[in-house]
């Protein structure tokens, strides 16, 4: 993996106005994205994963805005882009996005081929005829059988998996540098999920783009991600390589998240779920946002916000547990067991 940075987010704060009140959805998130890697952003529902990545293409809902922070991409600060015109040179062309539900992502009344073709005529300046044959090639590349006749069909004649393939074809059509997949497989059944993930992986190799996966599914992460960023209440609380996160996580929230993996559950025991609910984003949060739900929180967690501590050059976590003054806290048993299994395999 080379370590040229394609995109760097610093202290991003995103707010929304909702019925006269202001809520802070992203509260100072920082992240680096390296050329050619596959990064997964994981976190509970509502933690802000989608909002976070939407700021990269200027697609926050109307009631939201970037309050502070910066997003550096190709020498520009994306947070300073205001006009639709500036964004349009970027969206779909440089940074593309695939959304969760392929059933609703396509216009039900426009033939699939035409919807993909739009990207080509727009970003690559193709004529309609050129686009038409390029679309057929693209559909073929993403594994749609009989691409020529399929391209003339409407979305409802496609299966869910095929639709997601078409959406992916659309996303990569203009040859973007970054592909953001927001829960690309949640709406699909398991076998198709695997196929889609394999497809994206293969395409990434061929086209050389960088991928961001957003997902709740740590199984997906294990399959495809080089690096993982864990998000909680609008902050990135831990980043590291996939191995570091799975086998050497440091943040209590990451522990909780990992413990809720069904694969880790002991037979006969209830699935672990994280107690409590995420904080109300309307309120100001003092200290570590996860503290109220953390059974072993320290007093300081309620007072000061933890900084990012470095665990290794590739691994960072924002928890006071990493401060030398903190008492030693062992990860929960499930995590320890996993770590032991891993070490056993490694040696």
């Amino acid at each position: 993996m080379n370590s040229t940075t394609v995109l760097e987010v610093r202290d991003l704060v995103v707010k929304f106005r909702l019925r006269g009140r202001v809520l802070t959805a992203i509260r100072g998130a920082s992240l680096e994205l390296y050329e050619g890697e596959a990064l997964a952003i994981v976190g509970e529902s509502g933690s802000g994963k989608s909002v976070f990545t939407k700021t990269f293409i200027g697609m926050l809902d109307q009631n939201g805005w970037v309050d502070s922070g910066s997003i550096d991409f190709e020498g520009r600060d994306l947070t300073r882009q205001r006009t639709e015109g500036e964004w349009m040179g970027l969206r779909g062309r440089k940074i593309a996005m695939v959304f969760q539900d392929p059933m609703t992502s396509l216009n039900p009344l426009v033939p699939v081929g035409r919807q993909i073709g739009e990207v080509l005529t727009l970003h690559k300046g193709m004529t309609k005829d050129q686009a038409r044959s390029a679309v057929v090639e693209l559909l073929d590349r993403v594994g749609i059988p009989e691409p020529a006749s399929r391209s003339r069909q409407l979305p409802h004649e496609y299966s869910g998996g095929m639709r997601q393939r078409a959406v992916i074809a659309m996303a990569i059509a203009a040859g973007p540098r970054i592909l953001i997949c927001d829960e690309p497989t949640t709406a699909l059944d398991v076998t198709i999920q695997a196929q889609i993930l394999k497809l994206v992986k293969a395409l990434q190799k061929d086209f050389g783009f960088t991928t961001i996966y957003i997902t709740h599914d740590l199984g997906v992460v294990a399959n495809v991600a080089d690096r993982v960023a864990v998000m909680y209440a609008g902050k990135i609380v831990e980043t590291g390589t996939a191995e570091e996160i799975f086998y050497d996580a440091r943040h209590p929230y990451t522990w909780a998240l990992l413990s809720s993996l069904p694969q880790l559950g002991v037979k006969g025991q209830n699935l672990y779920s994280i107690a409590g609910t995420p904080p109300n984003l309307f309120n100001e949060i003092k200290g570590d946002a996860f503290a109220p739900r953390n059974p072993r929180a320290q007093k300081i967690d309620f007072e000061y916000e933890p900084p990012m501590f470095e665990v290794s050059p590739t691994h960072h976590a924002a928890t006071w547990l990493l401060d030398p003054r903190s008492p030693k806290v062992d990860p929960p048993p499930a995590i320890q067991a996993m770590r032991a299994r891993y070490q056993g395999r490694a040696s």
């Binding site: 409590g276 109220p292 739900r293 320290q298 007093k299 007072e303 000061y304 900084p307």
Partner: protein
């Protein structure tokens, strides 16, 4: 790279803070979203809008006044024809102001008294129709939804009635029966209950299918809870909306039926009769007040009901709640 923590600031932190805190399992819950009550939310959203509060006050005061007006001192009878004691002639078309606040009509009746009396009549029709539509609509809707064998027949009945233009059906029914208060109410209910019945039927079918669907019963919330928590509030709010909207609708129909001669007898003041009387002389400018006064009051009433009904339906839609 990540910025290194500010060393100075870090050192300054009191090391006693690194002890464990007491864990309160419920604190994690409390930090999250507040508990939610459907009706409180609905009412809150409804009243949060300034226009809703304004119209609510206006309508409230108007309705109150309409019904206490006859008991206030100095009010005249709406049907008495007044004669000028000096000449012994009827007070015809006396302009507003002076002895008669809103003037008199072409046969010397007091317009002020007639307008309020007419409003009472029209509101009474409106409320009766609204209530009856509600009862019929719910009863038919429930039968239609629950009794599977009736489904085809009811659907056919619905289609037939839905295919005839309401205006035509209404005229026909009013024509078959003789003009009277009851006729008016019966005719209007017969065309109005359809929508509500269909709505109730659809809701019941949704629930009924859930009952039969074992999987969803096993997995999901118990049906009774769904009914109490989701369906009932929704149903009640839709019914309230329909009843609220049926009042402006009814007033409109009354005006129309009166126009074609199928309305209430002219001896009973109603908004329809007043508008119709006003219409006949509207081309003469100095008598136009006889049309304007009743229509202004009528419009205020219908607009208030319409706006409030819609504001309430918006507020009662759970998708709009925080």
């Amino acid at each position: 790279m990540m910025r290194a923590p500010d060393a100075e600031a870090m050192k300054a932190i009191d090391s006693r803070l690194f002890e464990f805190a007491d864990y309160d399992a419920s604190a994690g819950e409390r930090a999250g979203y507040s508990n939610y009550s459907y009706w409180r939310s609905t009412l809150g959203m409804f009243l949060a809008k300034r226009s809703s509060r304004l119209f609510l006050w206006m309508l409230g005061i108007l309705l109150l006044f309409t019904f206490v007006q006859p008991f206030l001192p100095g009010q005249r009878d709406p049907t008495t024809i007044f004669n000028d004691p000096a000449t012994g002639m009827q007070y015809r078309n006396v302009p507003p102001g002076g002895q008669f606040w809103l003037g008199t009509n072409s046969i010397g009746q007091d317009l002020w008294a007639r307008i309020w009396s007419g409003t009472r009549t029209s509101l009474l029709i409106g409320l009766s129709v609204g209530l009856a539509e509600m009862l019929i609509g719910i009863a038919f809707g429930a039968l239609w939804g629950y009794v599977r064998r009736l489904d085809r027949v009811m659907t056919e009945i619905y289609n037939v009635l839905d295919n005839i233009p309401t205006t035509v059906l209404l005229m026909l029914l009013a024509y078959i029966m003789k003009p009277s208060f009851q006729t008016m109410v019966i005719a209007m209910c017969s065309v109005g209950w359809l929508g509500l019945a269909r709505f109730v039927r659809n809701q019941i079918v949704i629930i009924r299918d859930r009952e039969y669907n074992l999987a969803s019963r096993c997995l999901g919330t118990p049906t009774r809870r769904i009914i109490a928590k989701n369906l009932l509030p929704y149903l009640v709010s839709v019914i309230m909306l329909q009843t609220a909207l049926s009042i402006p609708g009814t007033i409109g129909w009354e005006v129309f039926l009166t126009y074609i001669g199928l309305g209430l007898p002219v001896s009973i003041p109603s908004l329809g009769n007043l508008v119709n009387e006003g219409r006949m002389i509207m081309m003469s400018e100095e008598l136009r007040y006889q049309l304007i006064f009743p229509t202004v009051l009528l419009s205020i009433i219908t607009i208030s009901f319409y706006v409030l009904g819609n504001a309430f339906s918006d507020a009662s839609d759970p998708r709009n709640h925080t």
